[in-house]
């Protein structure tokens, strides 16, 4: 570690190397990967709470049968905007924020390869989401046709359609720029000795995620551009009246949409693969098989899209193909779950907050995976399609999957970022409340779905009343317990017990060779061969 400190002592004496003074210079014009990472994370946090507030409206309305608080049109806007804010505003920017913070530190690079583009890709986002929020105030209200923006429903909406489409383009451009930055950084900026197969799993999963992003975001942009021309310029890509086909849109959307699901979850696999070995005090079991499993999942994500639309009708061969390829995803995913379990096997395990979230991920994501397998079975899907069973499935995958992993990552690296330990008790309260309430919130939705309750409805038959009430109570509990998260982070930023350089006893990786808090500029001189060997020994 002496080498790493020596490399940074020099930087510490150079006044030009600190952050710029003043909000505009420091934050608006910054090209520093840590500043940009922080902005992404703060932005994602804000979007989580806005999207979460929308979820509270949904659960309040569904607390009991009948129309209570909002009219059906607004309810539909809530479900649509909740999804868009959580996916594009919450989870994706949070991953890009973590990538910005950690990738250069983990591969021994001084910054991302394209720092100015990095700044630009962040600053597009606030405008995109401001535009989405403003769409609530135009005639007809915010988009209400679902986050999938299916025609013909979406093109029959109010004036918000072009706003949503422009916002989606901006989000897409931002994501593509972020992905290009990650790929170029990982391919060109690794320190000598950090070979591809010595990279931490978080970098590997992000590399594959970045390729998925570049492959599918332009497809989404193309699809919504065609929606726009259908609405305003008289084309009929998706209108059967002019020879087009609305089902075509669904195919195109899900060709984007399914890899998008893996864009949301692959970096989570990376984070969990970092945390479980640390707190099990053992190297990750099957590092290379993890890499290949991630790549396999990435590949398979491109050939399963139509399982989202079995009920629109397709030839039997198509149904069989998409059912079997979907089930095939369970193989590499099973490899991962096995490897995480095998890493913990006979480990010297302790349960600090990052590990608690990672273990909860392992159990709860697997539940979401299994209900996904059920949905893959064509005849069963005909029953489950568009019911609350699907809502339960994807929330199990995305909340204890993606969001718990983001929280795990924040609790894992926060002491490295701030130089302080956070309040462990508060973080554990946050974990236990979240884990209990998330199950109260989403598990009953399986029962509701199997009993036939449809998605995206503000009112329902009285037979669904009890479990909806339970689910809403879980929702309010989960929402309120999330307030502990910014509190724990804020306390940690302001002060606390001083963090060691290697914050966690079992941690391996180049980021732990750096001082805590990580200096404004890190690895201006590449790490020595000795530091690289020590920092990557866990693999």
């Amino acid at each position: 570690m002496a080498d790493a400190h020596a490399a940074h002592d020099h930087a510490g004496h150079d006044d030009h190397h600190g952050p710029a003074k003043g909000f505009y210079q420091r934050w608006v014009k910054t090209t520093n990967h840590k500043d940009i990472g922080t902005m992404y994370m703060v932005f994602a946090g804000l979007m989580f709470f806005i999207g979460g507030a929308m979820a509270m409206v949904i659960r309040a309305e569904l607390f009991k049968p009948g129309l209570q608080f909002v009219d059906p049109q607004f309810f539909n806007s809530m479900t649509t905007m909740h999804a868009i804010f959580m996916i594009f505003g919450g989870v994706m920017p949070a991953w890009v924020g973590l990538a910005n913070w950690m990738i250069p530190m983990q591969v021994g690079a001084p910054d991302m390869a394209l720092p100015r583009m990095n700044n630009f890709s962040f600053w597009i986002l606030p405008f995109a989401f401001l535009l989405m929020l403003l769409s609530f105030f135009v005639p007809g209200g915010a988009p209400a046709g679902g986050w999938t923006l299916y025609p013909p429903l979406t093109v029959q909406g109010g004036n918000s359609l072009p706003m949503a489409i422009f916002a989606v383009h901006m989000m897409g451009i931002s994501s593509i720029m972020g992905a290009i930055n990650v790929i170029v950084t990982l391919m060109n900026m690794r320190a000598p000795g950090v070979t591809l197969l010595r990279m931490p799993l978080f970098c590997w999963t992000w590399l594959i995620t970045a390729y998925l992003l570049i492959l599918v975001m332009p497809v989404l942009a193309g699809a919504v551009t065609m929606l726009l021309t259908d609405h305003f310029f008289g084309t009929t890509f998706f209108s059967s009246a002019g020879g087009g086909d609305p089902v075509l849109y669904q195919h195109i959307f899900w060709f984007f949409g399914h890899p998008e699901v893996y864009i949301l979850i692959l970096p989570a696999f990376g984070i969990v693969s970092e945390i479980i070995p640390t707190f099990s005090r053992k190297p990750l079991f099957g590092y290379e098989s993890m890499v290949y499993a991630t790549a396999s999942i990435g590949f398979l994500s491109f050939i399963v899209w139509a399982h989202h639309m079995f009920t629109v009708g397709m030839p039997l061969a198509g149904q069989l193909f998409f059912m079997l390829t979907t089930m095939l995803i369970a193989v590499p995913t099973g490899v991962k779950v096995f490897n995480w379990s095998a890493t913990m096997w006979k480990g010297s395990i302790t349960f600090e907050p990052p590990m608690l979230f990672a273990v909860a991920f392992l159990f709860l994501f697997t539940i979401g995976g299994f209900s996904g397998l059920m949905l893959a079975i064509v005849p069963a899907d005909f029953q489950y399609h568009d019911t609350y069973f699907v809502v339960a499935h994807f929330h199990y995958v995305l909340v204890p999957g993606a969001i718990f992993s983001i929280m795990a990552g924040v609790y894992y690296w926060l002491p490295k970022w701030t130089g302080h330990m956070y309040n462990m008790k508060l973080a554990k309260w946050h974990f236990w409340l979240s884990t209990i309430f998330i199950n109260v919130l989403f598990f009953p939705q399986h029962f509701l779905g199997l009993a036939g309750m449809p998605r995206r409805i503000p009112d329902y038959s009285t037979q669904f009343a009890e479990w909806n009430m339970v689910s809403s109570i879980g929702g309010f509990g989960f929402g309120l317990s999330q307030l502990l998260f910014p509190l724990a982070i804020w306390q940690c930023v302001k002060g606390g017990e001083r963090a060691a350089d290697r914050v966690w006893e079992g941690a391996h990786g180049l980021e732990w060779e750096l001082p805590s808090p990580a200096p404004y500029h890190t690895w201006e001189s590449p790490p020595s061969a000795e530091v690289v060997a020590r920092g990557t020994i866990g693999h």
Partner: protein, 44 residues
């Protein structure tokens, strides 16, 4: 693709970064416009 850090190799790395970034940007644009053009073609 082993990373390099000094002298002429650094210049070479910067050139490679630019080339990678341009290639990936070009790819995204080709998918976007290619996709739309292909659909227009299939409908005409």
């Amino acid at each position: 693709m082993e990373p390099v850090t000094t002298g002429q190799q650094e210049t070479e790395r910067r050139r490679r970064i630019r080339r990678n970034a341009l290639l990936l940007t070009g790819f995204a644009l080709v998918v976007y416009f290619g996709f739309i053009v292909a659909f227009i073609h299939s409908r005409s």
